[in-house]
Amino acid sequence: MRHALRAVFSSLPTRAAGLFIIVILTVAVTGETLAPHDPLAQDLDSALAAPGGSHWLGTDYLGRDTLSRLVAGTRETILSAVAMTALGALLGVLPGIASALLGRWSAFAALRTVDALLTLPTVIFAVAVGGLFSNGPAALVIAIGFLMAPRFFRIVRAEALGFSRTQYVESAALLGASRWWIIRRHVGRKVLPTIAVTTSITLGGAVFTSSSLNFIGLGSQPPAPTWGGMLAVTTSHLWEDPLAPLWPGLIIVLTIWSFHTLADGLREGLDARNPRNARNPRHSRPSPSRTATPSPVTSPALPEQVGTGPGSLLVGLTTTGPDPASPADGPADQAGPSGPATADVPDTGALDSDVLDSDVPDSDVPDTNLPDTDITDADTPGADTADSTGVRNVADIPDDPSFQEGSGAVLLRVTDLWVTAPTHTATGHHGDTATGHRGGVVRAVSFTLGRGEALGLVGESGSGKTLTCRALLGALPEGCAVSGGTIVFDGQDVTALTEKQWRPLRGARIGTVFQDPASYLNPSLTVGRQLTEVLRRHGGLGRQEARQRALELLSAVEIRDPAKVARQIPSRLSGGMQQRVMLAVAVSCEPDLLVADEPTTALDVRTQAEVLALLAALRARLNMSLLFVTHDLDIVAGVCDRIAVFHRGRIVETGPADEIVHRPSHPYTRSLVAAASAGAVPAASPGSAQEVPVVRV
């Protein structure tokens, strides 16, 4: 709760608005007792007095103190606004939630009733009610509150409808829950933020409406002070006292602004907890801290790294060598990272164990079997390819025979990358939360990707592979930040680019494919339209050319009837087809690098095999480099030349794909291989599976 409040009032405007609302509400409750003068006392001698003296804001044409009337009018105006809103919420909220869970016919009836109410014009309805009953404030409150109900109804219904279709509501229904149970236990609570936001906006609207009605003489009658009434009186003496309408006008505007600003704050603060928002990666923007100069020294997450000798060597390297990527000095700076990156691992045991506590029962290679120290065990058994540090690895790769170092061949070089995640944030990604408690979620990751090369990043969920990828795209989720290291893409340091500087790179030079194509394609535009849009924007093609090229691309991704598919909206296509379309979009500008993050995980096996083959074919045809992220060791071998294995934020093993799959040297890799094959055929890697037996649950 306190957390939510802090989130709501995180920005200065919301704080100001909140403060103003508190003042206004206090004044509304205490009313005339705060007023310096009697708001009704006339003093014709000092009529239309200018501000100053005992009348801070001057007087009106009857010599009544403006400030006192404003203070006294607050009660009338605010209380009627609150009453209207409360009535509207009362009549709208519960029926709104209920209608989302009702059968089709009752929902239909409710909706049509509400539609009818919405057609009533507010002011005329209020005038009519005033005329029918009494022209008093109560009649006005009832009339306006009645008209506000549909608004609550519709908003709350739409929101509740979304939640009522979630799987946890379905789960509850499968347990035999009644509708009332579902409202109480699942939907009601989720709708609360929406109700709060709507209430705040509606309060602003109610202040406006009641002031307007007072202005035209409805509701409270003179001499009782209201803001609207004061505005009316002062505007009629505009020639004598042109400043006078300012005060009631200002307070009306400020009040409405405050309610609306508060609504914005509520929406952002309360919705941040809403997983539906966190889930959509399109919302993720680089956080401001990303743009800070990356300097491992200043990062609090790196004590153990700074402590070690080789670590400090590294620090010097990253800070003093601003452009380690220029092809010329490639080999020179490689000697650095490859040594220290392995050497700085051992003292992370403590960090690891508390970061990952919550993960332990689940990563079923228990700590006894795979203590973190294993990562650096000099005598990793059976590691015939291991180098002197004991791990085949790490980072860059001069000692990796599969990578041919040479000037111009390096497309992407990641050096000692650190990414930190906020504490206890539900990012919505599987598993990322479990490791996101503190410290780095990507820790000292280094690798190099050559032109035309395919590198697989493999690891279980939460191992940091996806965040590494997002860092490469400058699209880390909210709250995550690069806290150290450099990313150099084609000779350009992209570690600290701004969103604007990223734009020409993304799409045009770096293409991306993600696990869930449906959420990246615009559901309401046809496939052809989306493709042509990209082509026209990035490729600068004309309308006709772009259309032609789009069809070519669709057939390039092996869609049999491109013209027909181009006319479809994404939801009409199967998952495999959507992924093909995503691929078409990704390669439309013939990027140098394609980042594929679990592109086939959501597909069934046959489609998966086809998409993988397509990926390989496209890569060959366009001579793209490929960064392929997956948790599935099985599929990566066929697609990638080399594999980097992620574990708990680090790369624990790098090597040629076949080598890793068939002769893994690191214990964690072996457990991965064993796990992958345990479910199916006997282990494919002779002599490895039995050394790290997967423990029984």
């Binding site: 799987q167 035999g176 479990a434 092996e558 489609t607 095999a609 083959a613 990926l615 799959v661």
Partner: protein, 353 residues
């Protein structure tokens, strides 16, 4: 799902390719099965826990075309048996699972559970059945099937709370027991789903499923949202729960290989029909139906053996995966024996129109 008269009238079942290939199992129905619910084939040894007979389901597409999703499915599950239901996207496997628990209304056929007919129950009767908790459903993605604002203890015991069983303290005790049964400690009781990892979430979902002591657990792709290590362990957990508590299970999966260690029997669903069914070992060793052969061949796991390279070996396939809704129009008839070989030439489940 709408409408009750959307069974396409004349669908020929006599076509050789579309017919269930029968194995020597008591559960087997034979060709006559797809004609309707009337036949009674209960074989001597044991009365099945669940008997689905001649089940059909479908929906009206937006273009007014009626799509058949299930086209006469017969399936039985005996007490304590694990049946793997295999099929690709759009084959109707999820619809079958949802129809059994009443989330999809079948248009024809019968579903009998513990001897009582349960299809077509509505309102209070459906709720009463569900509150008994004898059939439980595990969703694919635990992130979505667990209420993010509820503590684990409340999630796990929701079924008990709904039927007002025990007091809060007693329910908490039961939640702790269920958590232990799925390999989680009591320290998880007060966590939120957002605070635990994907595999742990699925364990919580399973704990919710077993806390009511069900006889039948229907798991819809229980591991496909998890990474490789967790997959194995969740599947083993399910197998162990069966051993300990004699819970029968229907495990729905697109991944034939993952069923090898877990299921006693597998049924392969293709275009809304079960095209092959039999003991797991038999189906793996000698898949009789061409579609099953294809599934086994295209599994990356089986292809990863040394020497064979990788999943990408299967050649650039065609865009077989046409608009998903076209499931009804892809026909089992496409599956001639000649097309069993995976590769560009095959026309299996070719694009719908």
């Amino acid at each position: 799902m709408s409408g009750s008269e959307l069974v396409p009238a004349a669908r020929k079942h006599s076509d050789a390719a579309g017919e269930p290939i029968t194995a020597q199992l008591p559960a087997d129905a034979g060709p006559a099965a797809s004609t309707g619910p009337s036949h009674d084939l209960s074989l001597a040894d044991d009365e099945p826990l669940l008997r689905v007979a001649g089940l059909r389901a479908g929906f009206h597409g937006p273009d007014g075309i009626t799509h058949t999703v299930l086209d006469g499915v017969d399936l039985t599950i005996s007490p304590g048996e694990i049946v793997g239901l295999i099929g690709e996207t759009g084959s109707g496997k999820t619809t079958l699972g949802r129809a059994i628990v009443g989330l999809v209304r079948p248009t024809a056929g019968t579903i009998r559970f513990e001897g009582a007919q349960i299809q077509g129950l509505r309102g209070r009767h459906r709720r009463a059945l569900r509150r008994r908790g004898r059939i439980q459903f595990i969703f694919q993605d635990p992130l979505r099937s667990l209420d993010p604002d509820q503590r684990v203890t409340d999630i796990v015991t929701e079924g008990l709370a709904i039927r007002r069983e025990l007091d809060p303290a007693g329910r908490r005790q039961r939640a702790a027991e269920a958590l232990v049964a799925v390999g989680l400690g009591p320290e998880f009781l007060d966590r939120l789903p957002g605070e635990i990892s994907g595999g742990q979430r699925q364990r919580v979902a399973i704990a919710r499923g077993i806390v009511t002591h069900p006889r039948l657990l229907i798991c819809d792709e229980p591991v496909s949202a998890l990474d490789a290590a967790n997959r194995t362990h969740i599947l083993r957990l399910l197998a162990r729960l069966r051993d300990d508590q004699a819970i029968a299970m229907l495990i729905i999966s697109h991944d034939l290989a993952s069923m090898a260690d877990v299921a006693d029997r597998v049924a392969v669903l293709h275009n809304g029909r079960i095209v092959e069914e039999g003991p797991t070992a038999r189906v793996f060793a000698a898949p009789a139906h061409p579609y099953t052969q294809l599934l086994i061949a295209s599994s990356p796991r089986t292809a990863r053996d040394p020497g064979s390279g990788a999943g990408a070996d299967h050649g650039p396939g065609r865009d077989h995966d046409g608009p998903e809704r076209d499931g009804s129009e892809r026909d089992g008839r496409d599956l001639g024996p000649a097309t069993a070989r995976p590769g560009p030439g095959n026309n299996v489940a070719g694009q719908g129109r």
